[in-house]
């Protein structure tokens, strides 16, 4: 048996696995110490009432013969695709329900949609960025090129200036980990570049719900021409705390045609063979996010985390430390003090202040000397962490 040799090229441990191991080790050596976790981007607030109500209704339906449902459509229930369509309408984007595919989360679909494209396309990935992009492409054996995000470009790199060629271009805006968010003209440059070169943009919009600034696009499809060259991947994790419930959606526009093939139709065919759909219960819960009641409750939660982000960022404002994010993102990305390396600062924060964050270098080489804090903790923890950080 010949194994997939690409798997050997993956870094030995995944960033978040590595962080967890370090933390578990620290806990073992320091029993009783209470840690403030501002590391992974995981929710701490419970699901909102509107969602819980619908989850209960779904379980109830499955408990009775008359309302039991087995296999659902692999592309997701129409009721949820209708709601996503309406949500996009509020952003000024017209979608057809056939263009929306319900997924079990952004992470899975980041890799799944790659099956549409040949291994021979080079991939352009911002550095630093969410490590799953790189890993999914390493597993498939694609050649990876990086787009350097640095302090100089405010962690918002522009279109590549090197050789013009067709590639798979990843964009994550608001960015994970930097929180930096592209404006309309910056995204337009990418769409124009993709149209010109026959590239495809993989737009990760997982954090779109954190955008408050009306001058920032929360969907790539707000940009003219994007429907011909972009796939948008989104999730209910960050808008509504679905990290454990698992539901997301991916938009592949009907207008996207490469080599005379309609990518939407091809993806639908792939899905029929490779997926049996997302849990009916999760889809029912996700649908409640778009109800009037759900939207209100979800926004209350988002405001809670936005407040945390503001509190955390005050540290860096006061200290005059360079940072990005916090405004339209749950993340604060900042330069480690005194030129410390990311992992040294991780250890320092853990040992000195009992705060768990995420070392920037874990997201790529340009993340070295940077650090990510998340606003997904509780208000109390965030305030406590802020007090401590002010003593830096």
């Amino acid at each position: 048996m010949i194994i997939n040799s690409n798997l050997k090229k993956l870094s030995k441990t995944y960033l978040f696995t590595q962080v967890t191991e370090k933390v578990e080790n620290y806990k073992k050596l320091n029993p009783g110490v209470k840690l403030i976790n501002l590391g992974v981007g995981d929710y701490t607030l419970p699901l909102c009432d509107a969602v819980v109500k619908k989850l209960r209704e779904a379980v109830n339906n499955l408990s009775k013969k008359e309302t039991f449902r087995g296999y659902g459509p692999e592309e997701g229930y129409l009721f949820l695709r209708e709601s996503v369509k309406k949500y996009y309408k509020t952003k000024g984007v017209d979608l057809d329900t056939d263009e929306i595919f319900i997924s079990d989360g952004a992470n899975s679909d980041i890799g799944n949609v790659l099956e549409l494209f040949s291994k021979d396309n080079p991939v352009l990935i911002p550095d630093p960025v969410y490590p799953a992009y790189v890993d999914a492409n390493i597993i498939h054996g694609r050649k990876i090129e990086y787009l350097n995000a640095t302090q100089e470009n405010n962690f918002l790199p522009g279109i590549p200036k090197d050789e013009v060629k067709s590639r798979i271009i990843y964009i994550c805006s608001p960015n994970n980990p930097t929180g930096a968010t592209y404006n309309y003209s910056q995204l337009k440059a990418f769409v124009d570049y993709a149209l010109e070169t026959g590239s495809v943009i993989m737009f990760d919009a997982a954090y779109e719900s954190f955008i408050k600034d009306q001058n920032l696009p929360s969907s790539i499809f707000s940009i003219e021409g994007a429907k011909k060259c972009a796939i948008e991947i989104c999730s209910f994790s960050k808008i509504a705390g679905f990290t454990g419930v698992r539901c997301g959606y991916t938009v592949i526009p009907e207008e996207m045609v490469y080599e005379d093939s309609n990518m939407n139709k091809i993806y639908k065919r792939r899905l029929a063979a490779r997926f049996n759909g997302v849990s009916y219960i999760s889809q029912m819960g996700a649908n409640a996010v778009f109800s009037r009641e759900g939207t209100e409750q979800v926004n209350e939660n988002l405001d809670y985390f936005r407040k945390n982000a503001k509190i955390l960022s005050s540290v860096f404002e006061k200290k005059g430390i360079f940072y990005t994010g916090a405004k339209n993102s749950p993340y604060i990305w900042f330069k480690c003090p005194s030129g410390m390396s990311s992992w040294d600062f991780f250890d320092y924060l853990l040992e000195k202040f009992n705060i768990v964050g995420t070392p920037g270098v874990g997201f790529g080489k340009n993340g070295e000397n940077f650090f990510r804090l998340s606003s997904f903790g509780t208000l109390e923890e965030t305030e406590l962490a802020t007090e401590k950080l002010l003593k830096l």
Copy 2:
């Protein structure tokens, strides 16, 4: 952009999509006609009480701050892996919890585990068989060879007699669509062959819960040596009606080593990058399947379908028509009468008796002139269908 040209090699429509389209068309032309659906292998009984109780508890936990859970372990919660381990123990198979990966269903993992192995390994797939195996391998661009299952070998083909080489070998037992089930010595021949040639066996055990006959193995790991060469893929869909809830599990033994690489460890690393785990709610429900209460209730449901299978098979017993399955499987696989083609018989059943079944040829060329009926309908429908079929 170069697209994945393998996608163009997929059959235009997926079997079950094609059946659904034909049925929808018939309904449109014949409004008011009530159809008996013995087509897809989908549950019709509601979830059992023990499962519903745990699903409710899970939703409740997510509704409160103290018990809310976000991201779970990508390999699944330990509580569920412990239960699966105990379940295997009752079959006489010792597993470690680290060898068990919770999935969102067998269908997804049939493709996912393929990422472990190079595209250069040929694949051996029984014909006829569940079409997802073929499609997943076409998408990945593997060379597919077929193992002919025919009336002559009772649809249980033995090890290949041609050139000895290392391959990815699919086995589905009890088989979908034929219901034929391998015995110990037949499976041992496959394990010996795999060990000798360095092949890997992908053992689809989705229907293991239907095995009543103690002389038939319900896990490949009941065969000595299998832990060195087999991956087992299973699901809660058929044991407990999770077709809409989505949960399954995949076993990759620690002993499986190819090219000095531990496949279990490599899969765990892949999973960290590519998956964020199965819904906590679904996992809680799945765990209830293994409780004393759950086991009892699940077995009652299985008996209900077993009875249906027996009733259906009586038609073919009485008429002396060749069939397989029904005994340790929810499917009855039989020869179409009067040498009719599978699709002609599909149309005939639909139009004459208003019964929906699945044409055998949809599962592979050797399925031509054969037909699959499922016992997952209601008792009333099954009895009505039986009456009608006796008039064949």
